[in-house]
C-alpha cells in the first residue's frame, strides 16, 4: 500500500526514518548495533509469492532465512565499514542489521522456497502449494 509522503522534514526525509525491528519486551540484543525491519515488497505472480527485502551492505554470507511453524524469518548482518582517517561531518543514517518475520499461509509450499541476495536486496521466491491431493479414507467393515 502506498505510503503518505512528507514533503519537508529532517534531511534524508522518510527514507532515513528507519523502523527498528520488533523485540520481545524486556530483552536486549547482545550486538551493539541497531537492528531494523527491512522494507519489503511482496508480489504475487501466477505460481509464486515473491518477497524483496532491502538489506544494503548484506551479502549472501550475512543472510539467514528460516522457516519454522509457518513463520518465515529473515535476518541480515551488514558489512559496515567507516572510512578511515576521516572525521564524521554529517551523518543522516546509522547502518545496522536487519530482521523481520512473516507468518505464511498454507498456500505456500515450504519445500520449494528459494532465496538469493543481489545488490543489497534479498529476493525470496515462495512457490504456491499445488492443489491439495485428495485423501482417500478407507472405510472398514464391521
Amino acid at each position: 500500500m502506498p505510503e503518505t509522503p512528507t514533503t519537508t522534514g529532517p534531511s534524508g526525509g522518510t527514507e532515513a526514518d528507519r523502523v527498528r525491528a520488533a523485540q520481545p519486551q524486556g530483552t536486549e540484543r547482545t550486538r551493539d548495533r541497531p537492528v531494523y525491519a527491512p522494507r519489503v515488497d511482496i508480489v504475487e505472480t501466477e505460481d509464486a509469492l515473491e518477497i524483496l527485502a532491502d538489506m544494503p551492505g548484506v551479502t549472501r554470507d550475512g543472510v539467514e532465512v528460516t522457516l519454522e511453524q509457518r513463520v518465515l524469518s529473515l535476518r541480515g548482518r551488514a558489512e559496515v565499514s567507516v572510512p578511515e582517517g576521516l572525521a564524521p561531518l554529517y551523518l543522516e543514517y546509522e547502518p545496522g542489521d536487519y530482521e523481520r518475520s512473516f507468518t505464511l499461509s498454507d498456500a505456500v509450499d515450504p519445500g520449494g522456497i528459494e532465496a538469493r541476495v543481489r545488490g543489497g536486496v534479498l529476493h525470496l521466491r515462495l512457490p504456491k502449494a499445488g492443489p491439495a491431493k485428495p485423501q482417500r479414507i478407507e472405510v472398514k467393515a464391521d
Binding site: 526525509g13 515488497d41 576521516l86 543489497g120
Partner: protein, 144 residues
C-alpha cells in the same frame, strides 16, 4: 558557504540548514510518494583535510542506473530504481519506493570533479572526493 566558527558554537549548523533547504526545494517539485520526495538516498559524509568520503545506501539500484557528479562544492547522486513488479495489483505489500531520484548534497569545500571515485557494492555506494590541489591548506612558514 563556508562554515566557520571562531568562538565556539556548531560550525556545521549552517551546513545542515543549507542541506535542509536544498532537500525542501527538491522535495517540493518531486512527484508525491516517489523516491525523490523522500530525500533518497540518505548520505553519511566524512571529511578530512584533503578530501571527503560519502557513503549512501541504495539497495536494488543497478550501477548502470546511477549517476554521480560533483560540481564546485556540491555533489549530486541521481538515478532510477526499478519497481519489483509491473502491475500495481500484483503487490500484497509495497514499502520499497521506486522511480527516479536525484539528491544534491552540500559539501564543506570545493572538490575536483574529475577525481571522483565511486564504488557500488551490495547496495552501498562509497564515494571518494578530492580537494583540488590549489585548495589544499598550505603550511605557512613563520620567520623571525
Amino acid at each position: 558557504m563556508r562554515p566557520v566558527s571562531f568562538f565556539g558554537g556548531d560550525p556545521f549548523r549552517e551546513l545542515r540548514r543549507l542541506q535542509d533547504e536544498m532537500d525542501r526545494l527538491a522535495g517540493a517539485f518531486a512527484p508525491a510518494g516517489g523516491l525523490a520526495a523522500a530525500g533518497f538516498p540518505a548520505v553519511n559524509l566524512y571529511a578530512g583535510r584533503d578530501g571527503i568520503a560519502v557513503v549512501a545506501e541504495l539497495p536494488g539500484v543497478e550501477a548502470g542506473d546511477l549517476e554521480v557528479h560533483a560540481h564546485q562544492d556540491t555533489l549530486t547522486i541521481a538515478g532510477t530504481r526499478r519497481p519489483a513488479a509491473e502491475r500495481a495489483e500484483a503487490y500484497h505489500r509495497r514499502e520499497r519506493r521506486s522511480g527516479a531520484f536525484s539528491r544534491t548534497v552540500q559539501l564543506p569545500f570545493r572538490v575536483d570533479p574529475d577525481r571522483v571515485e565511486a564504488r557500488l557494492e551490495d547496495g552501498v555506494l562509497r564515494l571518494s572526493l578530492q580537494r583540488p590541489e590549489e585548495d589544499k591548506p598550505r603550511r605557512i612558514a613563520i620567520t623571525g
